[in-house]
Amino acid sequence: MIWNSIKSNLANKLQNNVDNTSDKGLVIFNTVEDAIKAEKLIKSAGGDCKLVAPPAALRKGCDLALEISLIEQPAIERALEARVVYNGIFPIAGEAELLQVVKVTEYDEHIMVKSGNMKIVFAKSDGTIVNTSGGGCPDIPYLNIQLVGKKLSEAPRPRDIGYTLCSLMLDRAFEEALSLWEGRKSTCC
């Protein structure tokens, strides 16, 4: 609902060719107080953001939204989590929601789970993560080092230590891998 309002409002902006290659997203709040508080939280966490007027369809009079770099969505969510109430984060252009499709490939001794551009591979025998691959954001090589060699049940979640959209996609794959592993454990042990 909110997204539809935002999108229709922004359509005019895009038609006016303001910038159709934007990597920006909007964080939408219920109150100005929350928006200002969120700006401080993001900036104190080292992030970049800008207070802007929300799309016209959502304005109640004196409102603020935060313009952010969408690539850094996980880090921004982490900075705001449990500290300030917000309605959601929405891309200004393109798809409204993160890609949800997950694919599973089975090998003799391993299972690979793919979410978007990210893959995680674990051993069928004991749930150890043996590889991660794909992606291009700077937290991905770091997450590879942090995850590989650890059991799915003990490894840190990519969304908890990553910063970027690639880490969110890896987290989706991780979540599915963990679910598959726990399902296998419950049927075989």
Binding site: G116, N131, C137
Partner: protein
């Protein structure tokens, strides 16, 4: 100069630029006295490029590196260094790799590149490729090396990152690669040459597929972090050696697969096993695949 720019997953790693070499045991890279393990990402890419230049007996790659575990601090240092220095450095080949996609900085870098007296051969992969495409600069680049899901991103005119591609594009990413290649060129989301890495590797020029490579078929390679990086490293180095980009891409795709076969890789293998086998792959195949003779 072949210059490869990207991040190292260690926040304490300083901004550094220099010629790379392998450590004495061959398991790490050395740049300006700093040791870097051959792991997924730019380290794997540089390692594969160095394997090529060592085999051919030509100048080793230079690497521009900075520590970054995701916050973007190191990425910004790399962009800014290039913006300030690329004209003076005048690389013959510039390969941009793992970095936070920052549209404003990639646009500034593109302006700086246009000031170079001799425009480098520009290669984009990973986060740098995301930034170039999202900024609308893809046609200014000579080569992109996406995997199948990244190709879907290049074919989606609105996507700013592969995480936000349209669902139907992702679902069709394997079978529809030729269609997506056409579409990526139509929307100006592709570089002049595309090397699409996957179960079938496609090489396309200005929208036309000129080569498909599917042998040897090693499905386990997709599992191994860094096996796409090694292809990009090799194609950068072969291009630096003077090969046409298309020929460099074909050889690199074949070499990666063959190295995987020689290494008997499993889904649990590490990318270093691929890199260690590259000299043998070159020795046994390079003459057949190209006019290149063993120089060493």
């Amino acid at each position: 100069m072949l210059l490869i720019a990207g991040i190292i997953p260690d926040n304490d790693f300083p901004l550094t630029m220099g010629e790379v070499r392998f450590s004495d045991d061959g398991n790490s890279l050395i740049v300006n006295g700093l040791s870097i393990p051959c792991s997924q990402g730019t380290a794997a890419m540089v390692s594969a490029a160095l394997a090529v230049t060592e085999y051919l007996g030509i100048d080793a790659p230079h690497a521009l590196l900075a520590g970054d575990t995701g916050s973007g601090t190191g990425s910004r240092r790399i962009y800014n260094y290039l913006i300030e220095n690329v004209e003076k450095l005048a690389p013959k080949v510039l390969a941009l790799h793992y970095c936070l996609p920052i549209l404003g900085l990639i646009k500034q870098l593109n302006i700086a590149l246009k000031k170079c007296r001799c425009k480098p051969i520009l290669i984009g992969d990973a986060g740098s490729m995301y930034a170039v495409k999202a900024a609308g600069l893809a046609p200014d680049f000579d080569l992109f090396t996406p995997d199948a899901s990244e190709l879907a991103f290049l074919a989606d005119p609105d996507a700013i990152h592969p995480a936000y591609i349209k669902r139907h594009l992702f679902e069709g990413e394997i079978v529809n690669a030729p269609e997506f290649i056409t579409r990526a060129y139509e929307i100006k989301g592709a570089a002049k040459v595309l090397l699409v890495k996957g179960s079938v590797d496609y090489i396309a020029v200005e929208g036309k597929i000129i080569e498909k490579i599917d042998e040897p078929n090693i499905p386990e390679l997709e599992c191994i972090g860094g096996t796409g990086d090694t292809i990009t490293g090799m194609v950068s180095a072969f291009s630096f050696a003077g090969l046409e980009l298309t020929q460099a891409a074909i050889i690199s795709a074949k070499a990666n697969r063959t190295a995987g076969k020689l290494a008997h890789v499993t889904p649990a293998s590490r990318v270093g096993e691929i890199v260690r086998n590259l000299p043998l792959v070159f020795q046994e195949n390079l003459c057949c695949w190209s006019e290149i003779k063993h120089i060493n």
